[in-house]
């Protein structure tokens, strides 16, 4: 490896045709990202046949550009309407939507796009210089390590809700229950389908999220007569520059989010847990955790940095090992084979022009992408100036189309409406939605990894402690599980000591 390879790649990626392809791809991808349900994987799959007449490098640039666009675009509806366009932007709604309601939609979007860009570049640089080494590390991650990571994600969220722990528990168990519907991969049997064909594919995460967050929020707004205050915000074209002045303050969150995203992104389904974990850690380490969930800009920086960093890292196992790190990468991998390339460890040696063209296009694609979406920030923010009575029906229709697009199935639109009611009831009764969503998206992955591990160890839990990487991550997870129990005790002890020393202390 060396700079001449990267240079060769840039020559490929910067050809006028490939730049044109990238711009088209990002524009399409952003639209795909905005439409909830029509995710990156679907978008790439639909456009895949169009690429058969292109040279492979242009083809992969088109597909990856769609992917970058979807990563950027996922944040738009999260911030503006509380509807995550993509699974990994669920955590972005926690603070993005409150900001938009306070008339700071432009700032929230700028923060989201900028964070995405930073996260992406972090991962691209790592891939450029360390891809083969990182691929070797990725190989060390078997089912036990994967389960340990899932455990860490759960544990980082424990005790964060701040509300009633029993309600969080109910929410998380409800999520696990929904996640277990469908095919059990370990036994190959159907579970909880009660003979209904429509239940066989289980509950799609994105359909649930559109319902719980989007439709639920609309029901709530209708009842409370809540109005967006976006109109007051005005169309400030300087919003991007103004927000950039604040962002460097959160450099720690940027670095942490990038790292979390990169390490989680290796494995399938990595971007979503990464965004949750990054949010949880940002809140944990923040000096003002109470501001999170009410419109804290750091609560946008954390998940977006991690999600985009993970989204890029998902490409690493694809180009180095021939396994997809995300559903979108799985479709691209199919593309490689159809273009006549053999994905896997030999790709670097046999097709340097393709691999380095792809890596160089990650740099150019993300620069083009962030410029395009940032230029549109005032426009996106202006959408909120549309009267609520007109906007709401449009949102409902977009939600329904999105839910339908996931599987081309009408039943998903009904599921979405049911989840909307569930989301409304949960909010009314003050049950937190985040644990439910987390359990739904990770439940299936965590269960498979746990059972695969236990099959490998013939039933012994020791497998999570005897393998070095798994042991470290499991220990970390246990630490975070115990932390909320220990902290009050620690605080009272320290508090008592402090009071003794300085009576005025608190």
């Amino acid at each position: 490896m060396g700079f001449e390879n990267l240079f060769l790649g840039f020559q490929v990626a910067l050809s006028p045709f490939n730049i044109f392809i990238a711009v088209v791809g990002i524009a399409l991808g952003t639209i795909i990202g905005v439409l909830p349900g029509l995710g990156g994987a679907n978008g790439v799959a639909i456009l895949l046949p169009l690429t058969f007449t292109m040279p492979p490098t242009s083809a992969i640039i088109l597909l990856t550009s769609i992917y970058w666009g979807a990563l950027f675009g996922g944040a738009i509806t999260s911030v503006l309407f509380n509807i995550p366009g993509e699974p990994w932007s669920v955590a972005t709604t926690f603070d993005g939507y409150p900001m938009a309601k306070q008339g700071q939609g432009g700032q929230a979007l700028t923060a989201a796009f900028t964070s995405s860009f930073v996260g992406a570049w972090f991962s691209i640089v790592l891939i450029t210089f360390f891809a083969p080494v990182l691929a070797e590390i990725a190989l060390k991650f078997g089912p036990p390590e994967f389960f340990a990571i899932q455990l860490l994600t759960f544990s980082s969220f424990v005790g964060l809700g701040g509300g009633n722990p029993l309600k969080s528990l109910v929410s998380i168990l409800f999520g696990f229950m929904l996640a277990s519907v469908g095919l059990d991969i370990v036994t190959g049997q159907l579970r909880l389908t009660f003979g209904f064909v429509d239940l066989m594919k289980g509950f799609n995460f994105i359909v649930a999220v559109i319902g719980l967050f989007g439709v639920g929020e609309i029901l709530l707004s209708v009842e409370e007569g809540l109005r967006f205050q976006g109109a007051r915000a005005g169309m400030n074209t300087r919003v991007v520059l103004d927000t950039w002045k604040i962002l460097p303050r959160y450099y720690r969150t940027f670095v942490r989010g990038s790292f979390i995203g990169f390490w989680m992104g290796f494995k399938p389904g990595g971007a979503t847990p990464a965004s949750f974990m990054s949010y949880a850690f940002a809140k944990r380490f923040s000096r003002h955790p109470e501001r999170f969930g009410k419109g804290e800009i750091e609560g946008i920086v954390a998940p977006e940095t991690a999600a985009h960093s993970a989204g890029v890292a998902a490409m690493l196992p694809m180009i180095t090992l021939g396994i997809p790190g995300s559903p979108t990468a799985a479709v691209m991998l199919g593309g490689l084979i159809i273009w006549g390339l053999q994905p896997g460890p030999m790709l670097f040696k046999e097709q340097p022009e393709f691999v380095w063209g792809l890596i160089a296009s990650m740099y150019t694609g993300n620069v083009i992408g962030v410029l395009m979406v940032l230029a549109c920030v005032p426009f996106f923010a202006a959408i909120l100036r549309i009267p609520f009575a007109i906007l709401t029906p449009v949102i409902v229709v977009v939600c329904a189309i999105g839910a339908y697009a996931v599987n081309n199935a009408m039943i998903d639109v009904w599921y979405m409406l049911i989840f909307g009611v569930v989301g409304y009831v949960f909010k009314k009764l003050d049950y937190p939605l985040a644990p439910l969503v987390l359990a739904l998206v990770l439940g299936d992955l965590a269960e498979n990894a746990l059972r695969q591990s236990l099959i490998m160890s013939q039933g012994s839990l020791g497998i999570f402690f005897t393998r070095p990487i798994a042991a470290v991550i499991t220990a970390l997870a246990i630490f975070f599980f115990v932390l909320p129990l220990v902290t009050p005790w620690w605080r009272t002890r320290r508090g008592a000591a402090a009071t003794a020393a300085t009576p005025r202390g608190h």
């Binding site: 049997q189 021939g322 896997g344």
Partner: protein, 320 residues
């Protein structure tokens, strides 16, 4: 996009009543598996070839219906009785899913259109292990029966069926670890999380070239004739065990699909099959070219169904 396609097709509905049948609206191409897998790849390749060479007057829309190990897709097509604009690509789950889960469908519910190819299976071990031949590996497994981990795709599907056949032929026991997809299985072998796999050739080809995995035997009656693969012995030569298993890559239509429509699809698939792109795909993936239609195809499927019934009964994988 679908709406647009539908509108366009309405505009063109006034086609002259020609003698031969042709699709008059978009063709729904169902894949009873997830995106990115072998069946999905082949469906999208057929879609791409059809677009590139303009082989179909109407567009093809590939739809994944992977729920319940493919049952969702099969039941969807089963419910479209007499429809001429829906086809489905099948893999072994055409047989294994109804046998194992009891979901009510059978290939006899569907209209056979054409068999395109057969996929091979190979016994792989990590290249850093000392086992140079299948015999050495079998001896090691025998010594520590039950300690060796065999990785495979899904449960009670082709990989586990082959594993059970191997166990019964050798009188040994493996610990079978199910994964979600074939690519993931091979990477777990490279990462030494499992001891062996029965991956399809294409799933492990690149890791083999990189020197990370080693093929020991082909589960077929003859060697793979491709130059890269022809040195791998058959299981019969290597172990004396007569195990052969091929996976179907074929196309079916809904129940009672009109005869003229079946004829059109057969001709269409033959054209696709004869393109250099499709030939190259088969050769790269070491898939057995096996175009067959009509009675020949039905006879093969009947045989395959009986084989799966026998194997799954012997392996204790039938729905209880």
């Amino acid at each position: 996009m679908n709406v647009l396609v539908a509108l366009v097709s309405i505009l063109f509905l006034v086609t002259p009543a020609a003698a031969a049948w042709e699709p008059t609206k978009p063709i729904e191409f169902v894949v009873p598996a997830g995106t990115g897998g072998g069946a999905d790849q082949m469906a999208r390749l057929i879609h791409g070839i059809a677009e590139k060479h303009k082989l179909s007057p109407r567009p093809i829309v590939v739809v994944n219906k992977s729920g319940g190990a493919g049952a969702e897709g099969f039941l969807h097509v089963k419910g479209k009785k007499g429809d001429a604009h829906t086809i489905i690509i099948t893999l072994s789950n055409l047989f294994t899913t109804p046998l194992h889960t009891g979901v009510p469908f059978n290939w006899k519910d569907l209209t056979p259109v054409a068999r395109l190819a057969l996929d091979q299976f190979i016994l792989w071990v990590n290249a850093e292990t000392p086992y140079k031949t299948a015999k050495e590996y079998a001896a090691a497994v025998k010594e520590k029966s039950g300690q060796f981990k065999m990785g495979g795709t899904g449960s009670a599907q082709e990989d586990q069926i082959i594993t059970i056949q191997l166990e019964q032929a050798l009188g040994v026991k493996f610990t079978y670890v199910p994964f979600k997809g074939g690519g993931e299985v091979c990477v777990n072998l490279v990462g030494k999380h499992v001891d062996s796999t029965v991956n399809n050739p294409i799933e492990c080809a690149s890791h083999w070239k990189a020197g990370r995995v080693r093929p020991l035997a082909v589960f077929d009656t003859g060697r793979i004739p491709e130059p890269d693969w022809k040195d791998i012995p058959t299981v019969k030569d290597a172990l004396g065990a007569d195990i052969s298993y091929n996976m179907l890559r074929g196309i079916f239509g809904p129940p009672d699909m009109p005869k003229e429509a079946v004829e059109w699809y057969v001709a269409f698939l033959k054209k696709v099959y004869d393109t250099p792109e499709f030939k190259e795909y088969l050769s790269k993936g070491a898939l057995k070219p096996a175009f067959a239609t009509g009675a020949e195809y039905v006879k093969w499927v009947e045989g395959a169904e009986q084989l799966h019934k026998d194997l799954m009964t012997k392996g204790g994988l039938l729905k209880k």
